[in-house]
Amino acid sequence: MRKHLLALGAVFVLSPLMAQKIGVINSMSGPEAPIGENISNGIKLAEEDLIKKGIHVQLVWEDDTGKPQISMSAMEKLATRDNVAGVVGPYTSACSNAVAKLAEKYRVPLLIPAAAKEEITRQGLKHVFRMNAPADRYASSLIDAALGLGKPKSVAFIYENTDFGTSTSKTAKEYVAKKGIQVVADEPYPKGAADYRSTLAKIKSKNPDLVFMVSYVADAILLMRQSKEVGLQPQAFLGGGAGFTTAEFAGERAISEDVISCTQWTDDVNWPGAKDFGKRYKARFGKEPTYHAACAYESMMIMAETARNAGGDREKTRAGLKAGNWNGIMGPVRFADYDGFTNQNNHPMLVQQIQGGNYETVFPAPFATRKAVYPFPKWK
């Protein structure tokens, strides 16, 4: 009898210590891997911090190689074979959109850290939550910043012809129409193209006030280099993609100076722990984190805590995510229903500009640390 009581007691004492199984879907190989790496690293840091808080997680990592159908396979596996309490990820918009429906079908709470495509949280899916601000914010924050600094009348779009590039620029085109800015060029390019010079020359001949670009890192650098070569001189270069927010891009001093971009997070924003996170990440992984790392970190922290409080039950975890609010390195987080979005964290986008090789937040006013340089100075 005593043995049984002892065992029972042990279970009660130990159950909070029992590891919660949480799935992670990420692009760890394939073309999206360079940014996917940030997400993995952010999650790893979260794992450590969770242990310090006494929360043990057992992570099940799934590589979707950047392909939506593999992402779906991975979700199937996590939902039906690994019996996870919840899933954090995936990374790309295409993968996230594909996996969202599955999450709803299998009733697994899914917390998407950094995917841009708006549609994902516009489908009324109760089990799908998103940490980051969606693509419409990318567009609106950049355009509003530009409108706050000058009177641009025309815009040229150049973007990679992937899901991410196309959907982000589509939203942006709708927004500029509302604001009365005319689209004078619309150029999707295939990823991996070496030479944008003729396209940029064509854009230059249209004399746009703004050039809105959606690209990842390597293309971003080449686009700017060749813009300089060709002598494209708009009032502002607006970088609406992840490529324009990385340390690598900023490091290309000759071509990145004064480029305006939007981001979900910087390390000098006044959210609790943001600065420390940046330092820790750099010390641990040898490079600056992108906003994806911060989004992933906070997503994992929130998911793990909520799952723990729910004892690993999926419906309770879902309810916990819906009801909770947190304040961490991503600032205040609450998954709300508004404007046709479901379970969307109403996250403010930060607009930054590279000044002196550093990212300085210039918009919106509550977060701005510096004044923006506008219009874009003449190429030297």
């Binding site: 760890m28 190989s29 891997a33 990592w61 799934e62 590589d63 190689t65 392909k67 939506p68 159908q69 593999i70 779906m72 396979s73 991975a74 199937e76 596996k77 039906t80 074979r81 295409a94 959109n97 594909a98 429906k101 599955l102 079908k105 495509k117 012809n161 992937t162 899901d163 590039g165 196309t166 959907s167 999707p188 295939p190």
Partner: protein
Amino acid sequence: MTKTLLNAAAFLLVLGALLVLPRYMDSPYALHMMILLFLSISQGQSWNILGGYTGQHSVGHAAYFGVGAYTTMMLMQARGVAPWIGVWAGVAAVVVVALVIGSICFRLRGPYFVLASIAVAEIMRLSAINLTGLTNGAEGILVTDLPAFKIGGRVITDFMTKVPFYYIGLALALLTLAVTWGIERSKLGYYFQAIREDQDAAHSLGIHIALYKNIGLVISAVLTALAGSFYGIYVGFVDPPTVLGLDLSVQIMLICIIGGMGTLYGPVLGSLVLVPLSEALRSNMVTDLLVKSGLVSADSKVGIFLKENLAHAHVLLYGILVVLVILFMPEGLMGFLKGLTSRRRKEAV
């Protein structure tokens, strides 16, 4: 005589087992793997007809897969057309596409044919990306809610579980096997293989080369398109790189190369190797197995390296497998197995 009886018995036994499998295997993940297997077999068998039997090695078969997938999905999304009707539109479309492609590519031989088939598939993929009004471009088409399948007012299935997809996949794989079997035993098969062995000699024997090449292509294309439509409705998402990409064309070819071209069961063998291997590597099964069996300790340097990298390395292993097969087993697994049995027979004598 007994050999054919034995073969037939073995086939029926396996078929019977496959038919009742879903009763005993209710894990959706396992069913998913079987469906992937059936899909791979269908793709391989379809290609085999043109590539293996007729000797026209197309590296652009994704074009037909994509036409099937996109037609079905586009009709479902734009007009709510049920997939079992949309599939036939896909077939009609692909016949037209195949005849056009054939008229371009069949004038060329050997490596030039290969290059042309790639170019055509790439043109289709790029067009799918650019014609956003039609195909939704790079964003792809996502339709995950399927209408319920009714016969005479009675609902047969509402596609909520994987089981209906399992049976559709099985039926498709069996169809491709049946068509291949039929071709093997018919005059058509003779003509195809004559063209493969020596096109000029076949021509001089009075075989209408262009006609039979195109017949082979159309059959192959239709079956591939059916597989494409099936893929579309099962996965629920199609985009240009996935269903029209060069990677897919290469993968389809790979199934036959590894299994053995121009043989009835080659693509089946090839699929049995590739599908589980690919999934085992991609998920962490192999590493987990090594750790569980005690061969590798989870904390050792080797263990950690494997854990972090083996999943990414599955494509590398693909490449190694391809090189090994081409160098040492150019007839594929079927050829290898045949070699074994014939040797045994020689030894018995």
